[in-house]
């Protein structure tokens, strides 16, 4: 493999190419619609990373989609298409809020209980999809879609129950402060905290103004753990084997049915983990009645695709996605370009990610053509030389 082909086979390089192409297409569309493309993109990037507060907000915004992206990516590695991530995330949010609003324990215990209950319910919800596939051969996409809708209405039903419904709102009672996973929530509101942050403007902008929480750190740890599980453990090997070739895996003595259920459960648990940290770490710390999906799970699909299903890649893809979603609002208010251009950008990036495997082939073909040309020239030269010699 030539060095150049190696370079263009690197998933990271391919993603960058897809991102550049995504912005190119978006620029053309903006231009056609009569908006200044360069200024729009500059505004978009500025609203993403312009101030420390923006960077902090982007990280917070990205955290849930990194988790759902991880869940989807894990499922893809094991040969499953977890389109039900949305429903698993919604279930996680509801359960986290239900449990969190009732608990009154010391902090670490309370957080642990919320996280475990959300993960448990989400993983069971996903495990049901796996069970249907393993036992009855029901495609995970169709049961996943159905369960997404069921979770939406379940969430709304819980929201409306007297026991959980907070009067005067469209949502549930928020979780108790003992479950909060923000970093130093009480301290930063205290006088000492305010005085300390006054000395460090960056701290005041980020920690003081946004819900900085532990979710992102947990997401990073989870990404590395999932990467380790997939690539360095026997279980991960088995799961990947089932994903690569189900018949070969069965022949090798792997319990295929169990693997499918386990893979789905882990994928669901990651979505539930994301939900728990969203509810405990970000205002309004509760679930509201939904009229449509909030797309956290569906966006996880795009994150996983942009990351080429690499768990570590999901961290970056999630940050990009969260950043674009966050910056899109700034784009509309400052340039007036519709914020939906963001969806087009992300869609085009995903599209080119799907096509990106063509690039190494293209490079290889060009390299081969060049080499051919060079050889021909050399041969011609040699012939001429040879001819001269004869003369």
């Amino acid at each position: 493999m030539s060095l150049r082909k190696k370079f263009f086979s690197n998933p990271f390089v391919l993603t960058i190419i897809a991102i550049v192409l995504g912005f190119c297409v978006a620029s053309l569309i903006l231009l056609a619609a009569g908006y200044p493309p360069i200024e729009s993109i500059r505004t978009l990037v500025e609203s993403m990373v312009g101030r420390p507060k923006d960077i902090s907000s982007v990280i917070i915004r990205s955290t849930p989609i990194i988790f759902t992206g991880l869940g989807v990516a894990f499922a893809i590695k094991t040969g499953l298409f977890n389109i039900g991530a949305e429903g698993q995330y919604v279930m996680g949010c509801v359960v986290a809020t239900m449990v969190g609003s009732m608990l009154d324990f010391p902090k670490p215990v309370a957080i642990l209980m919320v996280v475990i209950s959300a993960m448990l319910v989400s993983s069971l919800y996903a495990g049901f999809v796996g069970l249907l596939k393993a036992r009855l051969g029901i495609h995970e996409v169709i049961s996943g879609i159905m369960l997404n809708w069921i979770s939406l209405y379940f969430s709304n039903w819980i929201c409306g129950l007297d026991f959980f419904h907070k009067p005067g709102t469209i949502g549930m009672y928020p979780v108790n402060p003992c479950t909060y996973t923000m970093i130093l929530p009480a301290w930063k509101r205290s006088e000492a905290g305010a005085a300390f942050m006054e000395q460090y403007p960056i701290l005041k902008e980020t920690l003081g103004r946004t819900d900085v929480n532990a979710g992102f750190i947990v997401a990073v740890i989870a990404a590395f753990m999932i990467s380790h599980l997939l690539n360095r453990t026997r279980k991960g090997y088995e799961l990947r084997a089932v994903g690569q070739n189900i018949h070969a895996a069965r022949f090798a003595g792997i319990n295929v049915n169990k693997s499918i259920v386990h893979a789905m459960m882990i994928s669901g648990a990651l979505c539930g983990l994301g939900a728990a940290f969203y509810i405990t770490g970000q205002s309004p710390h509760t679930v509201a009645t939904l009229s449509a999906f909030e797309n956290v799970g569906f966006n996880g699909l795009s994150v996983a695709f942009i990351a080429f299903s690499s768990p570590i890649g999901c961290l970056f893809a999630g940050l990009l996605f969260g950043g674009l979603l966050y910056g899109g609002a700034g784009l509309q208010s400052k340039v007036g370009a519709p914020t939906e251009i963001i969806n087009i950008v992300i869609g085009v990036i995903v599209f080119f990610c799907a096509l990106s495997y063509l690039i190494p082939r293209f490079v290889e073909r060009r390299d081969a053509a060049r080499l051919n040309k060079k050889r021909k020239k050399q041969a011609q030269k040699a012939m001429k030389k040879g001819g001269a010699h004869v003369n």
Binding site: I29, W149, F305, E340
Partner: protein
Amino acid sequence: MSININSDTVLLLLGITLMYSTPMVFAAQGSVISEVSGVVNIGIEGMMTIGAFTGAAVGYFSGSPWLGFICAGLAGAVFGLIHAFASVTCKADQTVCGIAMNLIGPGFALFLSRVFFDGATQTHPVTNKIPKLFGSSGLEGSLNNLNVDMTTVLALILTIIMIWIFYGTTWGLHLRAVGEHPAAADTLGINVYKVRYICVTISGLLAGLGGAAMTLAIVPQFMPTAISGQGFIAIAAVIFGKWTPHGGYLACLLFGFAQALTVVLGGGSFTVPSEILAMLPYVLTIIILILFVGRASAPKANGVPYNKGSRV
């Protein structure tokens, strides 16, 4: 429970069933033709959304619902063509590409809506909706529930045409062969790429029509929630109907019926909360899948790009 089951209720149920299922039937036929030819098209939802917008926008500006309907099909076909290019010529991952369509389709629809309708994400209502079967005067009494939209009739005709193409024509045989065993079809002189291109483009066209059947017949305008899940349900209906045009049609009817049941039951003094009722169609689908469908039998080459000359 205070529901009297009489002819009025039955006619009401039937009318709502047909109304709800129509956009899904178009989309399901689009999904079936693509999947049977061997290309997974999970982007149906996005193609429906772009069709829904185009239909409503053209219908509003031109005043002709039929022109809007046709343009919606063409807009969907453009997206179908892009999907065909990616998945047939470029042999890209069809699922990823479909998800991209689901992002680009609604993104485009809302973007264009904001451009053409002063920053609003919904279009103005069209002046003329697609006419009803028995005209605007309709039928007498509860029989008027059967005065369905013309699109509902078109959906039925489309299904019959699809069945005829699939099982009554040589081209239908080619199409199924391409989805089952493209290499064998190729050796018989069938142009696999051409068949797939045509099928995926038609798939987009039908999805676009389905979207317009929503925004030109059921509701008179496009809004962000006009297409919310119908495309995905249509894909589920195709799997449910075991990848046949008639199976897909019946699955859509069943799904429409479950939704109609929700509407009719919700209207009475029924003690079950409306949210639990709203789950009914989806729960019912899962139960039926568990009880009756069993192992799905997808076309063998579904989702696998074909490389000419490759050994299977």
